[in-house]
């Protein structure tokens, strides 16, 4: 579990408001670059003058006299080249906003939301939080342009309206090679004009992840606690596909939903066959999920059957399907090839029992929040493995075309004219 924020001690810091800074561990940077970056100091590494600031861990702040010096706990000593931090001098806080070495950088753009999901891991707050976006606009130019993927999350990003479009264009300008994955409930895209403008603003490599929690409105609307949400979401998905935006459907596996999982899969392949991916997600027991845990917890070893049926349905329909946040020991073996080692590095952990597991390297472990509620089925594999288990999502094979009179047509409709 990687710590992303801590209290600091500082001296010589001139700003009173929070500010962002890029980190470097290269003490020999030319001055033109050094003056914009904080030098990260480990042990007794040199601290030549010319840097924006100096960051040490677990020791007194050190650096050239008169410079901006910060001392942080060793919990954040993972900071290194390319990472971006926010220093809040008034509150003596440091926060890690971006880690170059992570494959899961998610940017939270707002905490406001028009849903109120019973298992929300990021409970919404209704207050105006434009300052969040202000800071993110500053962050983007500091992000390494070689970053493979960035995530955008919330709250509900589409509530930002035009500001969201500007932000996406901003990313497109500064990070043209970066893939962007945005999470959204999709409801606002039912407005054609909004979906169209959105489609024009997005970077080239872009996908929206939109949750669906039922094959009809009542179940979905209950999970997200908003009447009319399902219909809006589905119409939103249709519009997004009309305008050529890639869409991933996400389903969180919890009580109420898992019982209906095969039917949900059937609904998706009959109505939304043209989506680009489906992600079946294990429950993360923080936020509202923790508060409502007794109502919504479903043990994976109890829903293996439904999960198998659903995956078979989606896979047969040639929809790329992945299972996230499940440990290998609680998944039926036939589903291992759909399982993605997905818990982000700053959230995951392994239990003591897992240390002896022969499949530890392939397994994503558990959420660090999980000891709160764990599957009964977690236990280590003890047999040696003989083959390499590839946990990355495997593209589905394509069948031979039929030679008889029946011909296959996989063209999705509803893509405009």
């Amino acid at each position: 579990m990687i710590v992303l924020s801590a209290k600091i001690a500082h001296s010589g810091v001139t700003a009173t408001e929070p500010f962002l800074a890029r980190c470097t561990d290269n003490s020999e940077l030319p001055r033109a670059l050094a003056k914009k970056q904080f030098l990260v100091l480990h042990d007794n590494s040199p601290a030549p003058p010319g840097f924006l600031g100096y960051l040490s861990f677990g020791q007194d702040a050190r650096g050239p006299v008169g410079s901006q010096l910060v001392s942080a706990p060793v919990t954040v000593s993972h900071l290194s080249e390319g990472d971006v931090i926010r220093i809040n001098p008034a509150k003596s806080e440091i926060r890690v906003l971006y880690r170059r070495g992570s494959n899961q950088n998610y940017l939270l753009v707002t905490e406001r939301c028009n849903n109120y999901c019973v298992m929300c891991s990021q409970p919404p707050k209704p207050a105006n939080d434009d300052y969040i976006m202000d800071e993110l606009f500053e962050l983007i130019p500091l992000v390494d342009p070689n970053t493979v993927e960035l995530g955008i999350t919330g709250g509900e990003p589409t509530l930002l309206g035009e500001r969201l479009f500007s932000f996406l264009r901003h990313i497109r300008c500064y990070l043209p090679r970066t893939a962007v994955h945005m999470l959204s409930n999709g409801r606002r895209f039912q407005e054609s004009a909004f979906a169209s403008a959105f489609a024009k603003a997005i970077p080239k490599d872009f996908m929206v992840g939109i949750p669906i929690y039922g094959d009809e409105a009542n179940l979905h609307d209950f999970v997200v606690q908003a009447h009319g949400a399902f219909d809006e979401t589905v119409l939103g998905i249709l519009n997004l596909k009309r305008f050529g935006v890639r869409v991933e459907i996400r389903v969180v596996l919890q009580k109420g939903v898992v019982e209906r999982l095969p039917e949900i899969a059937e609904f998706i392949r009959r109505n939304l066959l043209f989506v680009d991916r489906v992600a079946l997600m294990g429950l993360e027991t923080i936020g509202f999920a923790r508060a409502n845990i007794d109502q919504i917890w479903a043990d994976p070893i109890d829903y293996g059957d439904q999960l198998k049926k659903a995956v078979v349905k989606l896979d047969s329909a040639r929809i790329r399907t992945s299972i996230y946040n499940h440990q290998l020991c609680v998944l039926p073996k036939e589903l291992w090839r759909f399982s993605v080692k997905s818990i982000s590095d700053w959230k995951n952990e392994y239990l003591d029992a897992c240390r002896v597991c022969t499949r530890l390297g392939d397994c994503g472990g558990v959420f660090s929040s999980s000891p709160f509620r764990l599957s009964r089925g977690i236990k280590p594999f003890l047999e040696p493995i003989h083959s390499f288990v590839d946990n990355r999502v495997v593209p589905v094979g394509v069948a031979e075309p039929l030679l008889s009179d029946g011909c296959l047509s996989g063209v999705p409709a509803g893509r405009g004219s």
Binding site: Q190, S192, A193, S196, L235, L238, N239, R242, G416, S417
Partner: protein
């Protein structure tokens, strides 16, 4: 890319207008005057009398069409304006039981036809909306 002939456009328009003119159902509806021309009342043993405020001519005609392989039916108005279905022939046989069975079949199918009529009336607008949208390239809920 070649021109798309008007053939399939004609076909599409036809799809939207569902027409079942009575003459295509090949049934006869005759007014009953003094008895029935050419037959004495005694020979017309098997018939059903139907309340015409409940059963439409179309429903009765469709039922007769669907049972054309098990019987021959003649549909007429009675003097009181009710609908009468005369079973001229029962393919299964000539016994009272055969005719009774056929009448039951007729009524069962007729009840289903009424249900179909109700569904059609309730869903006509939606059906047209869906068809019109399906065969166009614009979105229902937007530009």
């Amino acid at each position: 890319m070649g021109r798309i002939p008007r053939t399939h456009l004609i076909v599409l328009i036809r799809l939207i207008a569902r027409t079942t003119p009575a003459d295509r159902w090949k049934c006869e509806i005759l007014p009953l005057r003094n008895g029935f021309a050419g037959m004495t009342p005694e020979t017309r043993e098997h018939w059903l009398e139907l309340d015409s405020t409940v059963y439409s001519v179309e429903a009765v005609a469709k039922t007769a069409y669907r049972l054309a392989d098990v019987g021959v039916f003649q549909i007429e108005h009675s003097s009181t304006g009710q609908l009468r279905v005369v079973i001229q022939k029962c393919s299964a046989g000539d016994t009272m039981e055969c005719y009774a069975h056929l009448k039951r079949e007729f009524l069962t199918e007729l009840t289903d036809q009424l249900l179909r009529e109700r569904i059609a009336v309730q869903t006509e607008a939606r059906r047209n909306l869906i068809l019109a949208h399906a065969y166009s390239s614009s979105s229902l809920s937007g530009s």
